[in-house]
Symmetry: C2
Subunit: 385 residues, 2 copies
């Protein structure tokens, strides 16, 4: 659309690197807008494939895969953070296509040390941190920041993989082996984990109200929106997220994770894509984070980020050994008024793999605690077979 | 799912005869539930194709086309009323698949005389009617029911095509030529056009609150939900719709059109599929009519039909000569908080063709009149180029 203001007869085509659940929900949000989606993913019949117009099967590292997507697309985006930003930029330039968010955002978030420094430069509060590349660095970090420390692999971490608390060099060695390529963060005794979904559009920025997250073993289990925090904390989280967004380039939806500590907020992490903690916006907000990403990437006006009411999302995580399996127990979800099942269509269940989610919204003025209890109960009763 | 209660690793597959906007929105609603959709449609790249897993390109009359869909599907349904019920039943039986709603519903609604008789037998009030096959029948109808009469072609009518008021045999001849195969209905001076979207599930029936419709030249322009009618009328419309649903077989979403006349309701027409006047349920209800159709056809529990608030839908209709064209002016829709654009991705604009719709929901307690004014203004500003 942009300046011409026209949705083509074939719709604009979004080329998406990655075809997991985020790509699938992006395609679900794109369809009503007349926007077509082509995804690249190495797994044949990836979750997004059933909804997207087309899947290019190929590795994310493969420029040919990205070029094939670019050939069919009007604009490029990504839903995973493993993409090589240089390769993506080169492919986009060769095809003469814009890519959003900026590959620079990938460069920042792919390295937790770079990310921390970015956040610090952006002027938002973060936990004190140090780069760690050997035992001496770590000892110095203990001296400066105290023990225990939260140690994070700078690269390749995801859903808590590559994060471990350590009270000593020995514990750190046990968790990481080699001590190079780490970031040590002062341990934060937070009161609450928060996140803000933010959107950078064409000359506009929007944020959804701060949501509250519950992680277990560093994997997101539940999101409660809005967060059950003081209004002042909610406002601080949103304004802090805006400051982060102001420091970024390009357009798109971003997930910004924060800690609430004694009424203040610290920024923890950043994702340059729709975020698991924003899934509640599908039913809970006037515009979903996925529809916002489609709008933003295309340079279209953003939608309202107002909530339609409270909403709670609980993740459906795989358990047990890896296996091909279906979902059991979904009737209870389907029978519960206001509960929405999202099943990502992954062919293989794996332990702690994100298989789907359930979002609960009120049908009779239920509050957040009640919605949370319902979502938790429904997800606990699901199983795989 | 059914008794086993399992969503397969590949999801159940819904085979849909017809791939227009209803098939597209059905596929949009199926995706979050992990349900895949295969559609049959004669137009390559039909609206549903971009969202469905697969399109079988072929005529609706062609058994081979239906058989190809059946081969890929776990259950068959349809989104157009032109399907031959006998052929559909034969294909379903050969493939050992259920088909919902019952092809019998097609048989009823494909012939307006049969439909009127069905409604009469079901025990709901309808406008007085007569079968007309020649001038003598028509004269008798004028004598019995007065003039003018609403004349309708028994078969092949759609969106008002094949409907015309007539005050005399001459006027009827001018409109229809041959006077055979018509139904004459007493002219109803209605106060309001209403519709109820009803769902027949597996041992359960649900209805959405009655909505109010505004037609022009017999084509639906706007739907206001809930209808701006007295509570007693709303209740009567819903209970009348339930009586109609009780008379039908099989599962699925049905659209039931009614007239409000002096506080009473008359049933006008019936559609055995999701209905244009139910599009507001996508944003306006806890469960959309499309999600309900998916659930119902699969025998899954139905969702809540409660409204999330008022909602108004306005159709985006083509104008001018047939041409390949895009949509202009969508920015205003995208910029309006609470307005949702649905563009069906049809490749050719045709005069009065349904190209898309806009639904408005409140973001700041806007009432139905205000939502209607907004939707009307937004749609009026759209054009094709």
């Amino acid at each position: 659309m942009g300046t011409a203001g026209v949705i083509d007869e074939d719709g604009p085509v979004l080329g998406v690197i990655g075809g997991g659940q985020l790509g699938r929900m992006l395609a679900e949000a794109a369809a009503p807008l007349g926007v077509q989606v082509v995804v690249a993913d190495p797994t044949p019949d990836c979750p997004a494939a059933a909804v997207a117009r087309e899947q290019v099967v190929g590795d994310f590292e493969d420029r040919g895969t990205m070029a094939a997507v670019a050939l069919a697309a009007d604009v490029l985006t990504y839903e995973i953070e493993l993409v090589d930003p240089d390769a993506l930029l080169a492919v986009a330039e060769e095809a003469g296509l814009p890519v959003h968010p900026s590959p620079e955002a990938l460069r920042i978030t792919q390295d937790k040390l770079v990310e921390k420094r970015f956040l610090e430069t952006a002027g938002v509060p973060v936990a004190d941190f140090r780069a760690v590349d050997d035992a001496a660095d770590l000892e110095a970090a203990f001296d400066a920041l105290g023990a225990p420390l939260m140690l994070k692999a700078r690269r390749g971490g995801y859903d808590g993989r590559g994060n471990a608390p350590a009270g000593s060099v020995e514990e750190a060695r046990a968790a990481f082996g080699d001590l190079s390529g780490l970031v040590a963060e002062a341990f934060v005794g937070f009161d609450r984990e928060l996140s803000v979904i933010g959107v950078r559009g064409d000359g506009e920025v929007a944020t959804f109200p701060a949501a509250e997250n519950r992680h277990e073993a560093e994997i997101l289990r539940e999101t409660i929106a809005p967060a059950r925090a003081d209004d002042a904390v909610l406002a601080r989280a949103e304004s802090t997220a805006r400051t982060v967004l102001d420091g970024l380039d390009g357009r798109g939806t971003f997930g910004i994770e924060l800690f609430e500590v004694d009424g203040e907020v610290l920024v923890n992490e950043l994702a340059p894509r729709p975020h698991n903690s924003g899934h509640y916006t599908i039913e809970g907000a006037v515009t979903s984070q996925f529809a916002q990403h489609v709008r933003a990437v295309l340079g279209w006006p953003l939608g309202s980020t107002a909530l339609r009411g409270p909403a709670v999302t609980a993740n459906v995580l795989g358990d047990g050994p890896s296996r091909r399996a279906g979902l059991r127990g979904a009737e209870a979800v389907l029978r519960t008024p206001g509960a929405s099942l999202h099943w990502y269509g992954k062919r293989e269940v794996r332990d702690l793999r994100k298989m789907g989610h359930v979002t609960c919204v009120p049908v009779a003025d239920e509050g957040r605690d009640e919605l949370l209890a319902t979502a938790r109960r429904l997800v606990a009763a699901l199983s795989f077979s």
